[in-house]
Amino acid sequence: MAPTDSDLSGRPVVMDVFRFLPDEETEPRFQRYEIPYRDDDVVLDALNHIKAEVDATLSFRWACRMGVCGSCGMMVNGEPRLTCETFVNEFHPEPIRIEPLAHFPVARDLVINMEDFMDKLPTVKPWLVPADPKPIEEGEFLQSPAQLAAYKRFSMCINCMLCYSACPVYGLDETFIGPAALALAQRYNLDSRDGGKAERANVVTSHEGIWECTYVGDCTRVCPKEVDPAGAIQMAKLSYATDWVKSMLLPGG
């Protein structure tokens, strides 16, 4: 017979948390914590409970607690998730295994070093590069709802890097520019106000760019904002390949 809710809520939440203290240890280890169960807790609440009540030495990042800032991403039972949006009751009473985001170097406990992503992001120029720049006094660049719809989905990225943790291509070779940055390049390429596609080409189509993507598709599956980086990258491949054919057929054009 299945246990009732009251039976379950009496059981503690068991958390197996990845610990790495670079000043004291050379190898990481898992530490088990048992904390009281509350039905509406998210994984981040549980971690904060540990930090406040059980073990103040545990380090992790978080800020907004509402799925916007993108700083609380961790591996929850092997899946990259925003811990502020992942409820404990999804796993309880089974143990929950918490690790830092995969594929990134670990600085301490659940804190990863995100320098690599931060360095890559500006290389794809994820900002408007207007084809015909105009002074602010001349007003804004107008856009129709259809022109907005063309890129809107790809603009929802919060730089949480869950997609990098889902991407084995990045895991195998960290020189790959990666899902979020390449999707952002395509987001601006698709923007009617933008004229920077050719400028982005040398990075986006480089050895580290779109052609390295083998369309595993897991970036899209784990994205908390439904950005679909995998789709954006395939669109970019078709778009740049079409440009290439045109440049072959119309030399100098």
């Binding site: 670079p22 670990v106 709802p145 084995p168 195998l172 083998t214 369309y215 595993v216």
Partner: protein, 126 residues
């Protein structure tokens, strides 16, 4: 920079998740695509000489030939289905300021696949 702990992706990473495994199986259908293309080259090569073609035809009609074909067919059907399912991701179309439903694009591809198969079978078997 401070000392960091770097985790390496194990060689068998694609066995860790169902989505990864499906991806790898999808990519490895390429082995069967190439194998059957090479087999077709043998068919064309042997078609030069009816005597030689006779031996090949007997091999086709043997249990071993059928089993090998069945394995190849299973892999190729997986290739066709995964390929068509991913097509709307690459091919994003717009009509009258509205994005064409991805399911419509995939559906049109399935229809095209069925029609192409039927026409080819009819041309050869009629």
């Amino acid at each position: 920079m401070d000392r960091h702990y770097v985790r390496k992706l194990p060689a068998m990473w694609w066995l860790r998740k169902r989505t990864y495994l499906v991806f790898m199986l999808r990519e490895l259908t390429s082995v069967f695509v190439v194998a059957y293309a090479l087999f077709l080259m043998v068919v064309i090569w042997r078609a030069d000489d009816p005597g030689s073609f006779s031996g090949l035809f007997d091999a086709l009609d043997s249990p071993v030939g059928l089993v090998l074909h069945a394995i190849v067919l299973a892999a190729l059907l997986f290739h066709s289905i995964t390929w068509i399912n991913l097509t709307p991701k690459v091919l994003v179309l717009w009509r009258d300021d509205e994005q064409v439903d991805p399911r419509l694009i995939a559906g049109a591809n399935y229809l095209g696949w069925a029609v192409a198969s039927a026409v080819l079978a009819w041309l050869v078997l009629k």
